[in-house]
Every structure is written in C-alpha cells, then in structure tokens.
Subunit: 346 residues, 2 copies
Amino acid sequence: MTTLAARVLSGEVRAASRLMRHVEDGEPSAVAELQTLFPHTGRAYVIGVTGSPGAGKSTLTDRLLAGLRRQGRTLGVLCVDPTSPFTGGAILGDRIRMQDHATDDGVFIRSLATRGALGGLSRATGDCIRILDAMGRDVVVVETVGVGQDEIDVAQMAHTTLVVTVPGMGDDIQAIKAGILEVADVFVVNKADLDGADRTVRELRQMLELRHAVRGQAGDHDARHRRARAPSAPPDQRPPEPAGPREWEPPILKTVATRDQGVQEVLAAVEQHRRFLDETGQRSVRERARAKMQFVALLRERLLREALGRLERERGRLEEVAAAIVDHEADPYALAEALARQLAEE
Amino acid sequence: MTTLAARVLSGEVRAASRLMRHVEDGEPSAVAELQTLFPHTGRAYVIGVTGSPGAGKSTLTDRLLAGLRRQGRTLGVLCVDPTSPFTGGAILGDRIRMQDHATDDGVFIRSLATRGALGGLSRATGDCIRILDAMGRDVVVVETVGVGQDEIDVAQMAHTTLVVTVPGMGDDIQAIKAGILEVADVFVVNKADLDGADRTVRELRQMLELRHAVRGQAGDHDARHRRARAPSAPPDQRPPEPAGPREWEPPILKTVATRDQGVQEVLAAVEQHRRFLDETGQRSVRERARAKMQFVALLRERLLREALGRLERERGRLEEVAAAIVDHEADPYALAEALARQLAEE
C-alpha cells in the first residue's frame, strides 16, 4: 500500500493535505495513491454550495458547518476558487475564512485554487472529494466561488446542491437561470432581511413554474421523471403545481446567515432531500452522474497531457505551435485531428 | 471549397448562423468548413465583456455596439451563456436582447448556450470568433454571463477584456479578484449613479496596487513585463505607482449604461488599449495566447470524443462505465491511464 494513502485511510489530516496538493498540482505520483483509496470511497454525503458571488455563501457555509458539527458529523470542506490564469494560484493569499473551525479536528477545510494549464479544476475537485471520503469524513461540503460552467460541473458532483442568491439581483437570477436552476435541490435566498427578499422568492418560484411548463410542452420525459416532490413539504416550499409522487420540488428558503437565521431549516431541507434520494433510489442516479463527471474530467486532462507531450516531441512547445497557428503556418484543426487519430489507431 | 464556408466568406449571415449551429453541436462536418475559413482569419479585433451577473453587462454591451456602429465598424457579437446541463440548451427561450440592432445588417448577434456532454464551450466560442472574423466583421464582441473558469478562458480570447462590476458588491470583488482581475484590461464600474461607486473604484484600485506589491515581492519578471501603462492615461486611471514605459495600467471607468453615460470613455479606453497593443507588439502576444487557448480547447474535446468512442466500443456506454465505477467494479484511474497510453503508443 502506498504510504500517503495508508495515512489518509487512518484519517491523518497532514497526509490528506499533502495528497490534495499533489492532486491539485497534477503530479503523476498521486494516481497510485488515489487508486489505493478508491475502494474505500462512496460513503460520504456530498453537499454542494453554489450561487452568485456576493450572496454570502461563505458565511452560510460557515453556519451550516457549525450545525452539522452539532449533529456530530465529521466534515471535509472544499472551497473551489477561480484561479489566476497568469500566476497559477490565488495571488492575494489564501482565504482565511471559517476560522471558527480552525481548532476543530472534526472540520478539515481546504481551498482548491490552482488550476494549471490543463484546466483540471473539476478533476482535482473530484479527486479531493474522494480523499475526504476515504479518510472517513461523514459529510463533504463543496463551495464554489463563481457561477460558470466549471462551477455547474462541480455542483453536479454533490448529492444535494444548494443554490444561494440574495434579494434584488434580478439580472442575476436571469443569469443563473439557465444552468444553475437545473442543478438546484434547495434554493436559499440569503440576506433575507434586505428589501425585496419576498420578490426574489417569488421570481424563483415563477422560474420553477416556467420550467415545468416548458418541460411539459417539450414532452421531456426524462426531466419529468427526475423532477421530484419532497415527501413532506415545508411551508416555504409550496410546489407551483401538483407533482407526481416521485418528484422533488426544490424548496426556496430564506436565511440571514450572519445572524444564524433560517440555517436549521436549510439543514432540515438537506436532510429531507437525502431521505428522498435514499427512498426513491435516486441516490445511486446521482452517484453515477458524479462518477461520470469525475471520469470525464479525469480522462480529458490525462489525454490532453499525453497529447501535448507528444505534440511537444514532434512539433515543439505549445507556445511555438500557437505562434505557428497565428501565422497561419499550422492548421489547428488538422493538428487536433492527427493527434486524435493516433488514439483511434490501436 | 466547402459550400457553407464559401458562403460565410462572402459575408452571408444565414450561412454563418448555420455553421455556428453545427460548431455548437460539435458536428464533425464543421471541421472541414473551419479549415477552409482558417486562412481568412486573424483580422477582426476581439473585445471581451465579462464580470459579475447583475452588473448590467448586456445593457453596457448594447451601448458599446451602438458606439462602434457609429464609428462605422461591422460587428459580430457572441453572448456566451451557461447551459442547462440537463436539457442541453437554454430552457427559458433565447435571449431577446439587444433588439435595437435587430434590423441592422452591420450587427450579427448569436447566443452560444448549448454545451454538450464534452464541455466544449471554450472550443465553440473560439470557432465562432473565427467564423465572424472570416466573414469580415471588423470587431467581435464576446460577452459572458457567468464568472467562472470557462468565462476566464473565454475572456482570454479577446484582445481587450472589459471587466464590469457595480457599486456595493464587496464580496463580489473578493470573488472576482483572483481570476478576473488578471485578465482585465479595462475595469468598468457600471450603475455608477448608485451609492458606493467611488468606494468600489477605490477598492479596485487598491487591489491593483496590492497586485503590484505581490508581484514585486514575488519577483515575477514575466508579470512585470506584461504589466503596461496606457500611453495617455485618462483622469480616472491614476496609476497607483510609477510604471515602466511598456506597461499597461487598466483604467477604472464609471458608467451608467442605461443613460449612455461614460460609454464613449470606455470605447476610448478600448481604442487606447488597441493602440498600445499595436505599438508595443503585444497584440501578437495576445493572439498567441488566444491561439493556444483555442487549440487546447479543440484538442481536449477532440481527444475526449475519440477516447469515449473507443471506451464505448470496448467497455460499453459511458453511463454503464459510471455505474461500474460507483459499484467499485471499475477503477476510473486505471481506465483513464489505459486510454491515454493508447495515445502514447504510436
């Protein structure tokens, strides 16, 4: 058994920290460690927290961690940050947040910021979830900072995904509607003491209704199968239309995270969703989706590394190839085809 | 010469529209068309507009388009939207924005929303920029909705990148600092009639100063070479420290896009940045970075398609492989290694 992996399995935080750094840096040695850990994964419950910047996600996450700790769960937390593409790391220093938990062995917090040239954020996140899972953490919380494509991918790695927004961000809701709406299991309107909180709740509800209508028209059977009603809906939930027995309607909950208001209700909704997933067999559907996402991210990066290595041996450094493309001396489409064809032939 | 490409080269909007749809859908037939167009690319000036959701980016883009049209430029506009991962498209209908330009042949607007299983948003954006370039558009404006990793990639495809924010989003600035700050050539504080606009300008300036300080400490020669001062700084710019002669200091400009205030100044800053890139030879640096980004995105998707095709022939559908991974019957790391090794062996 590889050394780091053995120490991770015994729950050693420093070993996990080191392995995560290797994973983030894309070090080839990490693969053997991850393979050793892999059979010991699949037990942790994964909660995703995403939504617009400025919505107070980190404060809310903080409160959720405190609540989960009171329930006696051990926690792993991943903060997934956008990366500086030039410096290859968060230039303004690591986040020093969630300090309340700094002395609590039951909470292990790690920022994922480095991205690298190959764009392996989703892959690194997937691997780090597995490390926290293998080291025996009951719950893994993954918080994303941005609201882009990668964040949606990351959100899909969770069993339960919270989408956090704040009052008065009308355009914001427009922006998140297309991608994030679809991955939300629980909506949280944070800073609900601000004006317009009820309006935001109303707008979210309308979007959910519209989604139903569109799906109904489109005859999207898959989507309708997936949609699901909570077994016992909290008052704030109010499903916009009668729904089938195996459908989950994402509740829309109001919080003031800075004052710890509404946080218990969020945790209750997460628990309710967890029960729903277990009772309906949807948990394994989620886990397959996650495994698929993780595998595609892993494969994509691994292939790209191999192909770029080959390209460098045959055509020079990527920068030189890019210069040749700008000068129209190299055809990027032909190059990509040639490298892909090499994969196809045996 | 392929049919669609020939029609695109003659400036035909319907052909460009159709080819873009093929590109977005990842249709293999699009590759030959793109290869035909490729020698005719490299003339358009690309402007990126990114920043937090809710910052009024679309209104600002609208005004910028009007200003560029008054200068007599022909325009191609790409609105890059997050995608619904389940429905494979924006479920709530296409954006019906920027209607002012709907009857103007000089403005060709296209939303990029579909993403597909292989995550080819960056690749599709790069290809669509080339199509607009080949059809002879003087300026291509790429507006992103989210603020995630893919959006940062897309922003790096521009010659000049505008980062738009609004007053009073302190957390927001924290969130965008790491990634977006580094790609900004011009900062725009929109909705500057709201309280706190000057404070936001101040905060942005402090972040730029901090960036200098960090870079200075780190002895990051590359970064210092890249950093550059505007040839003639507008009053709002006020570089935080004396900078070398070949450095560009991103100006921080205030706008009220809904009232068309400050928009001319933004266009002037874009023009100033364009001249700076030309005079310092940095334009080709940008274009190489873009070519690199586009090529990596292209290669990544192409390889993944090939590998997943192979996987399906040998091990069954991706969904089945994912199920086997969840059941620990398949090891994702070993599978990815095996597929990558096939690429390495001739």
